[in-house]
């Protein structure tokens, strides 16, 4: 039986899923055995989340609802970790004193 998971997350980072964030994003995706894909719309097209070339090609700016889905070993953990990374603004915004 193959595990699968899917989630959506809002990109809040200033310029979106851009160069440095996508380096972090694909590195993290590659640390999971599961097949992971991203899309900027629920009906795709879906891009390989482990390929920076494909992730950049998704051209997801700030304000995009990013769809993430995974299939296989650790699918749930992979989706959870990637959602978390996006929510943390890719750990780039450590001292941004922004109040709600």
């Amino acid at each position: 039986m193959s595990a699968s998971a899917e989630a959506t997350v809002l990109i809040t980072h200033e310029v979106g899923l851009h160069a440095r964030p996508s380096v972090k994003f694909t590195k993290l995706a590659k640390s999971f055995a599961a097949e992971v894909e991203v899309a900027v719309a629920a009906n795709g097209p879906w891009f390989d989340a482990k390929s920076i070339v494909k992730v950049m090609a998704a051209k997801a700016p700030k304000g995009t609802v990013l769809h993430i889905r995974a299939r296989g070993d650790g699918a749930e953990q992979a989706v959870g970790a990637l959602v978390d990374l996006v929510q943390r603004d890719f750990d780039e915004d450590t001292d941004h004193a922004r109040s709600a």
Partner: protein, 524 residues
């Protein structure tokens, strides 16, 4: 045989010549598709290992970009179309170029500025591999080489390891070019304006960048002479070091503030803050490099320098693009760029990009003693408009609850209209005289043109008179006046600048000691 030129960055170098203008090696087409694929793999690997080596010395922002390049190069999805094309008979260089050009076109077609700007990264990635494909090992410059040729690209300067000596000798070039500036700040000897050299040369040469000259195929007598001058220069530099840790003062005991000019946040890593009175000029256009940096990248860069300086002032100049400093996706092509849309003119015309920098500056201001200045101001309205943008962005940050502070806003004095009639600017927080541009505009002599280099002197009475009049106006109105052009670090110009009334100079870090030593010799 000695050929005379113009010193652009003082020092001496002895080493093997490296011809900058040798024709790029053509790509050798291989016998089979399998060999073509091997060649492409090897070239990609070479490009990656070069980038990895560059990361070692890069700071956070630059390292981030390099990591992105590596990640792209290591992604099979990037090279897959190229390998497919090789399979159907293309040579590796053409296959790679076509594959990357297709990818680049995708970025260029984006309606988002940020992704469009990444096309420059893709072009860089493409060219790194093309270079690796067509070069053989003997085209790499030997350690300690003297680079000579018509001109040198800033990237060539930056990728060279200068820790093992070496220097630059240019047929054309200018003492005010960016490479000359970089060479001075890193202490790399450089001579420009040697004139066209009849034939290409090889072997060892002696570069005298104190007086401005190069000796090809030196005789034993020339070699001995050279080594004497070189060690005398080293001794004088050593002596100047004793001034480094002292506050600068003239013979009469007049104190002169000496700050440093920097271009990269990482420049401060090699400077002891105790040896200077702050940063008189932090350039920001290099930060823009090949693409437009986002707010967070800029904020981190500014914050790093502010925290390094502690309580001492850091004067950051808003982006001075245009002129001889084009930025893809930002500057425009013009027939006469030095008189066109550059500096504050460009920033006001592209306020979307300017506002990003303003927000980064406002946010960084809470981390130190920040001052901000605008380049290329010609009329008071430009200052008023720029200041209004600061006020707008400040209000927006305040309403979002983001920590920020409004820094004092000053202007560069480099357009003659300001130097001639400074009274229009009585409400600015400070003046900083940009002597390089002021000189080129007063003398009508482009700073990047060796043919008119003899006219380009900040010590011309017309330039000095303008400097003196701005200094006098500042004293009268209580507006601080400093100077951040190359003249400030030139021991030959320092006496005249102090006599003109300046008491605040900003110099390249490598010139701190010599500048302070020169100040100590001034009688005023």
């Amino acid at each position: 045989m000695r050929i005379e030129g113009i010193p652009a960055s003082p020092g001496y170098a002895e080493g093997p010549l490296f011809d900058l203008d040798r024709p790029p090696a053509a790509y050798d087409v291989k016998a089979s598709a399998a060999e073509e694929k091997e060649a492409l793999k090897a070239a990609t690997g070479k490009a990656v290992s070069r980038l990895a080596a560059m990361i070692e010395t890069a700071d956070g922002d630059a390292a981030g970009i390099l990591e992105f390049h590596i990640a792209m190069l290591e992604d099979d999805a990037l090279s897959a179309p190229a390998f497919a094309a090789i399979g159907s008979g293309e040579p590796a260089d053409a296959a790679w170029r076509q594959a990357l050009d297709a990818e680049i076109a995708g970025y260029e077609a984006s309606d988002q500025d940020y992704f469009r700007a990444r096309a420059a990264d893709l072009r860089d990635i493409r060219d790194q591999v093309l270079r690796a494909l067509s070069e053989n090992s003997e085209t790499a410059p030997p350690p300690g080489a003297i680079f000579y040729g018509s001109d040198i690209a800033p990237t060539r300067f930056l990728e060279t390891d200068w820790s093992r000596g070496g220097g630059i000798a240019l047929e054309a070039g200018s003492t005010a070019s960016h490479v000359a500036m970089l060479a001075r700040s890193r202490g790399v000897p450089m001579v420009v304006g040697l004139g066209a050299l009849a034939d290409r040369r090889a072997g060892n040469a002696l570069l005298d960048a104190e007086h401005g000259g190069i000796v090809f195929s030196p005789s034993p007598a020339e070699l001995e002479d050279f080594r004497q001058s070189s060690s005398s220069f080293a001794a004088r530099q050593g002596q100047a070091q004793t001034f480094l840790t002292q506050p600068a003062a003239t013979k009469a005991g007049t104190f002169v503030r000496v700050q440093v000019n920097i271009a990269y946040p990482s420049d401060v890593d090699g400077i002891d803050i105790a040896t200077c009175d702050g940063v008189g000029l932090m350039r920001t256009e290099f930060l823009f490099g090949k693409a437009l940096p986002d707010e967070q990248t800029q904020y981190q860069a500014y914050r790093k320098v502010l925290e390094w300086a502690g309580e001492k002032p850091v004067t950051i100049r808003t982006v001075d693009a245009g002129g001889d400093k084009p930025i893809p996706g930002f500057t425009v092509e013009e027939t006469n760029p030095f008189l066109g849309l550059r500096g504050i003119r460009l920033s006001l015309a592209r306020s979307d990009i300017f506002r990003v920098q303003i927000r980064a500056l406002l946010r960084a201001a809470v981390h130190g003693n920040l001052k901000v200045m605008f380049p290329m101001i010609a009329i008071a309205e430009e200052y008023a408009q720029a200041a209004a943008l600061f006020a707008e962005e400040q209000a927006a940050l305040a309403s979002r609850g983001v920590a920020h502070k409004l820094p004092p806003l000053g202007i560069m004095v480099e357009v003659p209209s300001v130097a001639v009639a400074p009274e229009a600017f009585a409400d600015v927080a400070f003046f900083s005289i940009g002597s390089n541009d002021l000189t080129q505009y007063v003398m009508a002599a482009a700073r990047d043109n060796a043919a008119v280099a003899h006219l380009n002197s900040a010590r011309h009475p017309a330039v000095l008179r303008l400097i003196a009049s701005v200094a006098a106006f500042g004293r009268e109105k209580g507006i601080p006046v400093s100077l951040c052009g190359d003249a400030g670090g030139d021991p030959a110009a320092i006496p005249a600048l102090i006599e003109a009334g300046l008491r605040d100079l900003s110099v390249a870090p490598a010139q701190l000691a010599m500048a302070k030593a020169a100040i100590a010799d001034v009688p005023v």
